[in-house]
Structure formats: structure tokens, C-alpha cells
Amino acid sequence: MISDYILLALDNLKHRGIRSWLTMLGIFIGIAAVVSLISLGQGLQEAITGQFASLSTDKLTIQSASSGYGPPGAGAARKLNEHDVNLIKSVDGVNMVVPRLIRVGKVEYNKVAEFDYIASMPDDREQIDMIYAAINVKVDSGRLIDVGDRGKIVLGSNFLKNDNFGKPLKTGSSLKIQGKNYEVVGILKASSTMQVNMAILMNEKDMKDALGIGDETDIIVAQVENEKEINDVASRIEDKMRKDRKEKKGEEDFSVQTPVKALGTVNLILNIINLIVTGIAAISLVVGGIGIMNTMYTSVLERTKEIGIMKAIGARNSDVMKIFLIESGLLGLVGGVVGAVIGLLLAFGVSGAANAAFGSVILKVTLSWPLLLMSISFSLIIGIVSGISPAIQASKLKPVDALRK
């Protein structure tokens, strides 16, 4: 009966004790890497997809083609301006257009200075409501920036958590930005968007004054009338801006991002990362498989007498083969199960640590049963395949020769 073979194989694995566990190490590492990284990757992908789906299905983002790092539009050869805002407003299907500034500015508090992201908030009721809905922020203390709020700012959650200024910031504190004082009227709750957690929100006019910005804008958010037509509206905006700037298709110095396009890009990057991670883990699994094969070959050599005796008491070649295959399969299976558990623990650990460090739920773990089952099945298959050759060798041993060795 197969249960007898399994008991027999288990006895043998137990008998080898620590060597069995060491053999499974390669499998542990491989499966743990696959399970943890893919679980985190899927969680990240789901979180990003969710964000796009819930917040931006009716909004387009227009920005200058950037030539370097930094906030949107930083280093762009030709910046967006009021003329572009009016041009986009005139496009068919566009409901509302909000220009926004996102810059880095010098921030001082308690005689300590640092450079932080500053984001503008429009000075218009409809527009400010649209931006708040899009970035989905909630206050931890105080209130949000409102229309006509001059000399006031709202801080992202990181300002509350970090002790960069050596003195805690709170609602009512006064912060110097580019040499001018601003009153903190609210501090935001941790958001799933890292940039929001790091930024200072201030009135658009205040920001232009503080940073000496003229007729420039960094990004333009366009809300469409009908979200089903978002791609058509995006094409119309592209056509109009291209015509206005006298540019050829494919040589534009601006980009119009639809949520689907942006999501596609993010998903592509995440899929590439997942693929690379899976490849690296596969190498580890192959190494683990070779480890199992090596152990099984050693086992055949060590157990020639045992094999001979088994045959002397009636075991067939197929019995011996089954025992060795079940043993190697069990090494793979146990390795897979333990690896999967370690992988999940790692994923939850990394996710917890990352979320605690960033102060927001940026890394979620997705528990995928198909992934777990596939990983465990794969390691079982690796175990069995690695055991085939040693099992054949063991089964072919002649009992008398084996006993004389």
C-alpha cells in the first residue's frame, strides 16, 4: 500500500535528520523567494490598480516631457503655461481643467532648514474639491486648505512622524517657506500615495509668490465629461497641442497620460520585476533540485546493503524505486510547504516594516492560493524529477552484489 511506502520514506528521512533539512534548504530559499516576492508584487499591483480605478478614471494628466529627475516637468525644455490650460479647456469633452504646481522649496522650522515637496491647491471651489477627491486625503488634525486660504499650509503625514526639525510640528505651528512664514492649519493622515505624505499643500497664489513662479504650470489635470470617452478626449488634446506647438506625431515635448495608459506602464514594470524575481527564484529551485539529487545519490551509495536486504525479503525493483522516489518527492514537498510558509511570513514582515517606515499602506500582501499550490506542486515535481535517476540506480542494484559491498 502507498501509505506503507510513505511511512517507510518518512522513517528514512527522519533517520537522516539534519541532512534532510539541509537538503531542503535550496528548495526553502527558492519557494520562499517566489512566494514572498510575488505575493508582495501582486499586492502592490492590486493597490495601484485600485488607486487608479477609484480615483482617476475620468481624469487625464498633461505634463511636459521631462529631461531629468525631480517633480513633474522639472528639466522640461518647454514648460506648460496658461495658454496650454486655455487650449485644453477648449477641447471637446473636457469638463474642467486644473493647473498644478509641484516644486521643491526650502522649509525652515526651529532653525533647521530642509528641502521638501510643495504642491499647489487651486483657489477655486470646484477645482479644489476635484483635487481633494482625486488625491483622497483626510486630516489627522486641523483642517484642509480652503479657497482663499492665504498664508496657510497643510502638511503631509511624514512631517508628524519625522523629527527632522528637532521639535514636533502641530496645527498652529509656524513654518518658514522660502523665507516667508506660513501657519500650519492641518496635518494629513497617512495616505497610500507616498508623495502626498511627503508634501506641503499650499494655496496656488501663495506658492507662485513664494517661489517666484510666473505663467508656468507643472501638470494639468483635465476632467472629462464622459469617462468612457477618455481615450478620444486624450487624442483630441494631443492633436490640438501638437498643432499649437507645430510638432510632428511621435516628437511631442509633452505627454497626455490616461489612467489606463499609466496603469499599463506600471503593470508592465511590475510584471517585468515579477518575471525577473521568478527567474532568480527558479535558479534557486534548480540548485535545490540538484541538492536533492546529490542527497539521493549519496543515499543510494550509503544504503546499498539496505537495498540488498529489501530485495532479499521480497522487494521488487519497482518497490525500491517507489521508496526512493517518494523520499525525494517528500523532500521537495516538505521543502515547498516550509518554503511557502517562510515566504508568506517574509512577505508579511517586509510589508509590515515598509508600511511602518513609510507611515502608509504602500505594500499589501496578497495571499494567492493558486500561487501557493503551484509553488508547492512545482517543488514536489522538482523533488520527484531529481529523484528519478538515483531511484533507477537503486532499483537496478543486484541484491547479492549490494550485500557484498
Binding site: I2, I309, A312, G314, A315
Partner: protein, 184 residues
């Protein structure tokens, strides 16, 4: 199953049914007495050189026989618990206690019996040795006489030709069954 019954089955077995009767490479025959000289004296067997070793060979061809005396290894295997598994330990102990020698039959002789398959040739030798042990009242055990896996239930299906051992085997099987039920 009685030995006579098994030998009859071997005689009239169709090619596809040999596996059912356990007739397969490395066929072990445990005996309570070394019969190698007796086999050679019968004129049906000869000594041949094969792969630089002396083998007892079925004179007609195909089958080679290797003779395994009650080696130290078997005794040591029992005393040192070389087999980790309890099922195998019981089988081994039984065989080691009651039989002094084991023969293994292989179908590897270069000279082949024309028109006779390896299985059929093996069956003929098993039948001959079985008959020899009956004629000479020698205890015999065919641990692989029937198909199936090694398990607690294997013993009732072993062919054991020895009046003295009959009762002992029954007691052993009964004990193993009780043990198994207790485990359950």
C-alpha cells in the same frame, strides 16, 4: 497459498500473468538449507563464468542463480536495525531466523532458451527449486510469490513450505494485525 498450488499456477501461467505471480528479475527464494550442491548434482544446473564470477546457471539457458549464504550482513542488519522501517524489520527478522540461505534468480544468462521468454524461464527454475525442496522436505519461503506491495499484510500471501513454520507464521500475522489495529 500452498506451494503445490503456486507451482501449478507457474506451470500453466500465461505470459501476461507472470507479473501477478511475482515472477520478475531478482526473484528471491529463501531456504532452510544450502541446496546449491544438490542443484548441481541434479544435472540441470552448471557452474559458469559470467562477468568474471562463478554463477550457478540453468543448463538450458537464460537463468542465472546467485547464492547468498546467511551473511553477516543479514544478521547485522537485524541487530543494528539497518532497516528503519518496522514492516521491513519484521520481514527481515522472520527470514533471518528461519532460513539459512537465499537464492536469487536472474534472467541474464547470455545463452538463451529459444522460444521461451525470460519470465517463463524464471518460472521453470522456480518450479524446479520448489519441487526439489518438497521432495527433500526443505523449508522454503517465496517472499515475492504474489504481486503486491510490502506491507503488514504480506505474510499471509508468502509461500512458506514448512510444517513447523505454519503455526509460527499464523501467530506472527495475528500479532502484526493486532499491533496495526492498536495503532489505528
Amino acid at each position: 497459498m500452498k506451494l503445490t498450488c503456486y507451482l501449478d499456477k507457474l506451470k500453466y501461467c500465461r505470459e501476461k500473468d507472470f507479473d501477478e505471480l511475482g515472477v520478475y528479475d531478482n526473484y528471491p527464494i529463501a531456504l532452510s538449507l544450502d541446496i546449491s550442491q544438490g542443484l548441481l548434482n541434479s544435472g540441470k544446473y552448471i557452474i559458469i563464468k559470467y562477468k568474471e564470477r562463478d554463477w550457478i546457471a540453468w543448463k538450458e539457458g537464460t537463468v542465472l542463480i546467485q547464492y547468498l549464504p546467511k551473511l553477516d550482513t543479514m544478521t547485522r542488519a537485524v541487530s543494528e536495525n539497518l532497516l528503519n522501517n518496522k514492516i521491513l524489520q519484521v520481514h527481515l527478522k522472520f527470514q533471518q531466523e528461519h532460513f539459512s540461505t537465499t537464492l536469487f534468480a536472474y534472467p541474464y544468462q547470455e545463452k538463451k532458451i529459444r522460444g521461451i521468454s525470460n519470465h517463463k524461464a524464471l518460472a521453470r527454475v522456480i518450479e524446479d527449486i520448489g519441487q526439489y525442496s518438497m521432495n527433500n522436505q526443505i523449508g522454503l519461503c517465496l517472499p515475492r510469490a504474489v504481486s503486491g506491495d510490502i506491507s503488514w499484510a504480506s505474510y499471509p500471501s508468502h509461500i512458506i513450505y514448512s510444517d513447523n513454520l505454519d503455526n509460527e507464521v499464523r501467530t506472527l500475522v495475528k500479532r502484526q494485525r493486532q499491533k496495526k489495529e492498536r495503532i489505528k
